[in-house]
Amino acid sequence: MTTATVDRPARRVTTPPRRRPRAPRFVLAVPASVWYLLYFLVPLAIIVLYSFGYKPASDADNAGTIGLDKLSLDNYVDTLQDEAFVSTFRSSVRVALIGTTLLFLIAFPLAYFLATRVRPRWRGLMLALVIVPFWTSFLLRTFAWRIILAPNGFVSNQLQSLHLIDSPIELLDTRTAVQIGIVYNYLPLMIFPLFVALDRLDPALREASKDLGAGRVRTFFSVTLPLAMPGIVAGLLLSFIPLMGEYVTPEILGGAQGLMAGSLVVSQFLEAQNWALGSAMAVVLVLLTMLVIAFFAVVASVIRLVLARRRHVAEA
């Protein structure tokens, strides 16, 4: 974002231009609004509606038929009572949470390094290098791991001949492979918001903190980190939300073991042809994602409250 010209106050002494009779202010946003209404809001509403419907028993193989004459919560009850659904949902949450944590731990030092230690003339290039993988095919990046992790592939053979491992790598089609693939695929999405947040901090703030006697660690935890918090939160959300709905990575790397919630939704639509149940599962997926985020938002604000109180006491 360019911010070079923002701060200059507009100092104009000329009289304001004569206003022509104007169209309403939102007129230019009308095409997009209509488009989103037609192809986003209405379809989403229909998913919610379908989730209360049922699959007609009569025509089993007729895709897309749905009974809406008696609406019920049966699909939700089915979803939440089914052992397999619940355990898959639980493992999705776990994969997404571990993934987001790993992403943050990997990305933060790099983003901090780029924002504070790299000279501006190199920074552009280094950033571009972070982004280029993101511009390459998602599928290419994912199936690359099938080559790398292949039990009889190059890496496995080399590691065995170096006696670092005794038997071939057996990670493909496990949850670990999904975890690796997910972290790899979303890394640029995490690095970027963190970098932007850290880059916007004025270095003078850190220097002031050090001049006032705070050590490195204290400066980091009481100046840098709090100020970068909005970017950190953005990065965490931008990773966690898509991770929860991941479908392609587990499909390619996870096999039967690495199944995630997204795959269950898909199989209801493409295989079982039970659109009502699939819709309910999609709604549950979205609600669950929001629930986890809300939970962490509450935890975060409690922590902040406690910290603020302690600081208050310490200062008093």
């Binding site: 360019t2 507009a10 997009a32 030092p109 790099l110 599928l139 199936f143 009889n152 898509p242």
Partner: protein
């Protein structure tokens, strides 16, 4: 005097955290590029199975280029991506201008809508499109793809254009109006050139998003309009062959080329290296 120089030097001992961060950076970059390197190298594997190296050869490039299915799906992908780019720029460009220059009471709900679009899991979008397209009997195959891809892309373009225009001084446009330019002329001669980098970045993002999309495409496409990613995705399940790596490597080359061209265009229009990166990444 004699002690001055060691004292100065002692104030800057070897910066351990910075050293560690540098090592970490090297490792992360290796992690980012290793898989891509593997695909490129293995695209020159002449063996029948992709994962098992069997000597150097370009046989799979010939195979990929001669493969009718790959050629057809690539054609579908490119056509859809071009249309998505145009549509997203039109929808996102107008909405972005409206947000940056004609904001008002309507902006807030509109921004909430954009935020919803950005955070809805793609899988949910995909089934929503499938249900809706069946419901309204939309059976123009290319239109299904284009509509499906345009929602997310145009929302992103809207935000990029808005960010660009908000960072620019509005008085330039007002000056044009003061000097008697018609709104259309002021737009064409002032606003459009100013927002051009955002439009280029947005078009590129929309194009690559569409070209790369698997989830929505595999839900909405009907027989005969398989996109390249959908084709690749289905062949990952049935068993990888070198032609997938070869076509991916060629696409990678094209992406690089497009990025370099975009960077050069932006550089010519006077942006600094950092601005170019920021624009290209939509930040």
């Amino acid at each position: 005097m004699a002690t001055a120089s060691p004292a100065v030097r002692r104030r800057r001992p070897f910066d351990v955290p910075a050293g560690l961060m540098r090592v970490w950076a090297v490792l992360v970059y290796a992690f980012l590029y290793l898989p891509i390197l593997f695909v490129v190298v293995y695209s020159f594997n002449k063996g029948r199975r992709l994962q098992i190296w069997d000597g150097l050869g370009t046989r799979w490039y010939g195979d990929a280029l001669g493969n009718e299915e790959i050629r057809q799906s690539l054609g579908v992908s490119l056509r859809a991506a071009a249309l998505v780019a145009v549509l997203s720029v039109v929808l996102g460009g107008t909405a972005g201008i409206a947000l940056a220059r004609r904001g008002g009471g309507w902006s807030k709900p509109f921004l909430v809508l954009l935020f919803m679009i950005l955070v809805t899991p793609e899988i949910v979008d995909a089934i929503a499109f499938l249900i809706w397209f069946v419901r309204i009997d939309m059976d123009l195959p290319l239109a299904r793809l284009v509509v499906g891809h345009s929602i997310f892309s145009s929302a992103v373009v809207t935000l990029i254009v808005r960010a660009r225009l908000q960072g620019l001084d509005e008085s330039l446009e007002e000056a044009a109006a003061d000097l008697g330019a018609t709104p259309f002329r002021a737009f064409r001669q002032i606003t459009l050139p100013l927002m051009l980098p955002a439009v280029i970045a947005g078009a590129l993002l929309a194009f690559t998003f569409s070209l790369d999309d698997v989830v929505i495409s595999s839900f909405v496409s009907i027989a005969g309009t398989t996109t390249l990613p959908t084709y690749v995705f289905s062949s990952v399940r049935t068993g990888l062959k070198g032609n997938i790596a070869a076509i991916s490597t060629m696409m990678l080359g094209l992406t690089f080329l497009a990025l370099v061209i975009a960077a050069v265009v932006l550089r010519r229009s006077g942006d600094s290296a950092e601005e170019v990166t920021a624009t290209l990444t939509g930040a």
